[in-house]
């Protein structure tokens, strides 16, 4: 617990609790706004021949939610990876972890404290960011029910959980923060490629979460595939966490 508190204090001191949620709001909100004003923007920039008429598609609220999630999936995930890349590997490198681990603290505690602090930060940022997006969708496009909104946030949060666990896992393997970030992103990319190639075999791959969320928003009920995918994602995250603890323990004892 004290370790967890130390993590939270540290994340507050380096202002992560301020800027990460703010950036998530901006990311989530950017696409809904720019698409709403796209016609005006094109008109103001000019360069269109006289009489050119653009039929701008009218987006339905679920489509706009997906735009927000799309931004979070690319840039949001990148930010999570970047803030988490040094969380353990950096401490191993500059010796802080050794200072902590001479005290009677188990390796399990050390890893889970890091993981929980990161989880809280990314879930918090996601919730705040999506609230921003929800606000704009309600003014500009139309209603999304609270239930739909909450389930979107919940299921998408599982994807972020997976990213955090993946990053923690690589944190225990590598000592170089840059390499951690690279490996995490590489894994996500390879996974998404595999998911596309073996579409029929990997129906419950975590990469499919967003598309099932879309399906849920359109159809209005939770598809069984979404439940399956959610369970897979949670399972994989727990496995990654256990592996991280085992690897970390082995490595520290070897030292």
């Amino acid at each position: 617990m004290t370790l967890f508190k130390k993590e939270m204090v540290e994340n507050w001191r380096n202002k992560k609790w301020v800027w990460v949620p703010l950036v998530f709001i901006l990311l989530a909100v950017m696409d809904p706004i720019s698409n709403y004003y796209m016609a005006d923007i094109l008109g103001a920039v000019g360069g269109l021949p006289d009489g050119a008429v653009f039929e701008m598609p009218d987006f339905t609220p679920p489509e706009v939610v997906m735009m927000s999630l799309g931004q979070l999936s690319s840039l949001g995930v990148l930010i999570i990876v970047l803030i988490s890349m040094g969380t353990i590997s950096g401490e191993i490198k500059n010796g802080v972890s050794e200072l902590i681990l001479v005290k009677p603290i188990s390796y399990t505690n050390y890893i889970t404290a890091k993981w929980t602090a990161l989880m809280l930060l990314s879930w918090g940022a996601l919730i705040i960011g999506m609230l921003g997006s929800w606000y704009y969708i309600n003014i500009l496009y139309g209603e999304i029910s609270i239930a739909d909104f909450l389930s979107t946030v919940f299921f998408y949060g599982l994807w972020l959980t997976f990213i955090v666990s993946l990053s923690i896992f690589f944190n225990t393997i590598s000592k170089t923060p840059g390499l951690v970030a690279f490996l995490t992103i590489l894994t996500i990319m390879v996974m998404s490629a595999l998911t596309k190639v073996f579409q029929h075999l990997l129906e419950w791959s975590p990469n499919n979460l967003s598309s099932y969320i879309m399906q849920m928003l359109i159809e209005g009920n939770i598809p069984s595939n979404l439940t399956g995918t959610a369970l897979t994602t949670v399972g994989l995250s727990i496995l990654l966490l256990i592996f991280s603890i085992v690897i970390f323990r082995k490595r520290e004892i070897a030292n």
């Binding site: 380096n14 202002k15 992560k16 301020v18 800027w19 703010l22 950036v23 709001i25 901006l26 909100v29 706004i33 930010i79 970047l82 803030i83 040094g86 950096g90 500059n94 921003g132 606000y135 704009y136 003014i139 500009l140």
Partner: protein, 66 residues
């Protein structure tokens, strides 16, 4: 003034507000920092003049991990 009135403030105001907070926090942190990655004065201009991305870049790459 017509332009000012035509803007939908319910849409724009929160964005300006968020950008403002981000900038203020980055500047306070920058002022307190003893040393940064790269020249300190350079980060000042990055934070002030690069919209949104400037402060974020500072938090991600400019801060020295202590």
């Amino acid at each position: 003034m017509e332009i000012l009135e035509s803007i939908n403030w319910a849409v724009i105001a929160p964005l300006i507000f968020i950008q403002g907070i981000l900038l203020i926090f980055a500047i306070i942190d920058w002022a307190k920092a003893e040393d940064t990655n790269g020249p300190k004065w350079l980060w000042f201009f990055v934070i002030i003049f690069v919209n949104i991305i400037g402060p974020v870049a500072y938090f991600l790459f400019g801060r020295k991990r202590s």
